[in-house]
Symmetry: D2
Subunit: 314 residues, 4 copies
Amino acid sequence: MPQTPSPDLHAVVREIAEEMRARPDRGEVATYIPELARVDASAFGLVVIDADGTIAAGGDADVAFSIQSISKVFTLTLALGMVGDRLWRRVGREPSGSPFNSIVQLERERGIPRNPFINAGAIAVTDVILSGHQPREALGEILRFMQFLAEDPTIAIDEAVAASELRTGFRNVALANYMKSFGVLDNPVDFTLGVYFHHCAISMTCRQLARAGRFLVHSGRTPSTGHSVVSAERARRINAVMLTCGHYDGSGEFAYRVGLPGKSGVGGGILAVAPGRASIAVWSPGLDASGNSHLGRIALEILTRRLGWSIFGV
Amino acid sequence: MPQTPSPDLHAVVREIAEEMRARPDRGEVATYIPELARVDASAFGLVVIDADGTIAAGGDADVAFSIQSISKVFTLTLALGMVGDRLWRRVGREPSGSPFNSIVQLERERGIPRNPFINAGAIAVTDVILSGHQPREALGEILRFMQFLAEDPTIAIDEAVAASELRTGFRNVALANYMKSFGVLDNPVDFTLGVYFHHCAISMTCRQLARAGRFLVHSGRTPSTGHSVVSAERARRINAVMLTCGHYDGSGEFAYRVGLPGKSGVGGGILAVAPGRASIAVWSPGLDASGNSHLGRIALEILTRRLGWSIFGV
Amino acid sequence: MPQTPSPDLHAVVREIAEEMRARPDRGEVATYIPELARVDASAFGLVVIDADGTIAAGGDADVAFSIQSISKVFTLTLALGMVGDRLWRRVGREPSGSPFNSIVQLERERGIPRNPFINAGAIAVTDVILSGHQPREALGEILRFMQFLAEDPTIAIDEAVAASELRTGFRNVALANYMKSFGVLDNPVDFTLGVYFHHCAISMTCRQLARAGRFLVHSGRTPSTGHSVVSAERARRINAVMLTCGHYDGSGEFAYRVGLPGKSGVGGGILAVAPGRASIAVWSPGLDASGNSHLGRIALEILTRRLGWSIFGV
Amino acid sequence: MPQTPSPDLHAVVREIAEEMRARPDRGEVATYIPELARVDASAFGLVVIDADGTIAAGGDADVAFSIQSISKVFTLTLALGMVGDRLWRRVGREPSGSPFNSIVQLERERGIPRNPFINAGAIAVTDVILSGHQPREALGEILRFMQFLAEDPTIAIDEAVAASELRTGFRNVALANYMKSFGVLDNPVDFTLGVYFHHCAISMTCRQLARAGRFLVHSGRTPSTGHSVVSAERARRINAVMLTCGHYDGSGEFAYRVGLPGKSGVGGGILAVAPGRASIAVWSPGLDASGNSHLGRIALEILTRRLGWSIFGV
């Protein structure tokens, strides 16, 4: 196993972590889930795992945070594994042009969410995973999948965050019931939402998250284990959906500035994929107006520029 | 200059052209511009120019067609060259989640179009190019830019198509006047629309179009001439906008299936960019429900799969 | 008290009931609340109580039906009595231009429903009535108010209908949670919806309903008892809201054809008010595309034309 | 003919004119038509013509102002006279829930405007009047109709206002072209808009306007001349559309506060109809947020309350 670190990568990651630490502009920590508002706004972590398996880490690389919507990449992967392309009867794969929690598009399109990365779409995906099982079982399956991908059985759900959202996530309750009214959800709304709130409340460090994302870099395989998670075509397609839809109504901006498939969460994390090159996890709790990590996006922009990793050209 | 053709590429292009010729599903030829409805629905052309300058051509590679919205890639490039990032005060760069001619988003966002590749956005871009000049001059500049990029001074405007749209393009007149009412356009609406209708009416062959797109493949430079058209960063960014916004409300689908930045036109053409690898032009007049070439998209999907050219992984 | 019936009125009501019985076009019985779908589609009832207290009844005047959204007139009246014009901070009084259960407008206007007669608005009104009480108490108050107005203590809630909607009213659960997410509801969503579903499930006959509506005809007073229910100004204003908003996106049509303030319910009932002249209740279960009683509206159109009761001129 | 003035009416009108003169809150004079911005913001006029023909006038009752959208009542009347109920294939009669110049609803409903009193709807009505004629002829017909109704051949078009809107009315140009793109307009857009801008630019005094509105009060007849302008049913129906749609997205508010059918214009005028009782014209140039005369609406609210003229009850 090649463990010789690429010196450039280590240096770049360290420099970026230092630059980000020093910046005064940090965005706004999400407050809509009360438990998330308690996080330290000055935190910043960055981990890059390249094709050789080299791990470059900077800042708070080993502090766990709430992955929130980043979990949607993994539930999408799981659901595609379970039902294949039939999943696309329940959810589209077009950018929505709307905020993460918009309900307007659902009315026009009769309960079919635009893509699996807005809240409504992720709830529909969770409903597919749940199908025919108890919430506890479905949630266990999602959690074990994360542990398997990250090769780390300690990954866990932050019950305080899940409980916080269960008490206050009225908008998501609205979205789920709205889809239910169109017959788009099969399971009891409470079951589906229970699983959804809990998988969003999974806590991971940048290191764990970058590990979990490796299969998307390497044609569906996790290099360290040789496990084939999905086919190469499916990995490409998940990356494509991340590129067009991974940052809500800031997806175009992320593609324009960073040039990598990525998925953000309101906990301040972003998972980014440089196909064939690297799995990248960044975390900074302050968000921009679209609900994406402010410094996380900037750090990724600098990283891809310095390393020439944009998928849109060198 | 390397002229040894890659045998694979030639074979792949020829095979795809034959497969497409044989397919019964051809989509619907656009009728909203009467002149466009007169085209031969069975036409199919495909040209790929790879990094070595090898040109592989199949089908009706040398039949001229109306490039329509593909011209928006080139007007965006020109306008960025003229005013730089100030352009983004006039137009966004987010996918719209709406059809190409939607006016709804404009009302919500006070006349600022979502991106330069929907009609409203391209009209705003044309207004920037026009600024302070006569329509004839601005149009001349656009046409000369196309001729320069394609290294072909014979490229011309199809006046019958332009006249046809001038007579019937009420929706675009609406969009332009709507933006004007918000102060987003500087020039007389008739001037801006005159230039817009005419640059959409440029006629090109697949061969010419693939040539014109080379600078987006090679970090902003046209390899055969060595001319630097835009900076490498700008080329990447134009590609990013093509990926997220190039196919109206079918942009997510194109990214998912084809995995390349691309821009379609209602004339049935698509320009696609495989960064570092190839400039690709395809043409088949029948459109899908989103207004993108039906067989053109399928041909590109097969091409990128066979050649492993997706930007989202091998 | 004058009890001599106006012969014309009796004849007109009888004739209309017969005409309606004979018509083949009956609209579609609502199916979205399963229990409502079991009603007899051929039923038709009409009761008019004029200024003298004369009661003219035709058809199924004494068959109870689910008043559904007609209850919103009475909850609006109660809530205005409790909090006065402060109610209008929670709900608007403009026609919505949208179907009864639309959620789109709520997103644009940050959770404030357009008027108290669309579902979202009525839920907000119910939340005001509930404020600080147990659901059982609030519901008791609404029911006693109906019994008091109709002078009939036998009026009751159809628990099967309430239970049916509790099980299937996902759209209303969505609307309520959506408003809750904007802070527009004070009480637990389940409490508010419980009261809402139950007051919609009140069963009344046309005779009872026409009695209950008399205070809106006579400047806020119930003539038979002399009770002042609301001020004359408030009665006028409730009538105005009924005129502009009482029939969802068919309100303009109702005003145009019938020319009276009215409020419909998906159970097929309509309460109409001819100010100074008569309280009118009509019932026919089949609905038109806007969710209003098809024959009920036609019957009222004929009635007002024959009697010259339109508020828009003789 | 009874010419003895009702002393109360004269006193009420005079008092209201004085009260309004003294109020500091005057709304904002419209600036979107530059020529209109030049009007004196302190002007206030009020004229009431009751069923006896008594004319009570207060304030600037004889100063001409631009009637703007009030003209839509008369073009609707004319168009119904020309094509009858076929008009409703071109335009709806539901409140729109949107501002006067919204284009969003048009996209959803394929170019059919919601009602004849929003700009799009009035343009469609003008197109019906124009049908088969030269703009000059159609405009002459509209103007003669106004002169006939007001019994005053001096009523004229303010060409400076018409020219001002021709130069700046981009939003209306957008609306018209948008409808044209759906095939809703028959005539060249420039012809239809030319007539539309000119009939909106008709100048009238409150006295003239109140005279012109009398046929809507008296079942379609002008009492002084005995001319039958429309049938009684049509007069009622026009009043109904005025009530539900006459004040854009302030229509509900006007019904709630004033309780009369009415139509406002951005010139600050309002024509209100108390069926069977009085024709009322008020003018004060300052507008509220919905584009309706601020003091005009308040004056009418006081007037109907003092005289007990609300159609919703005494």
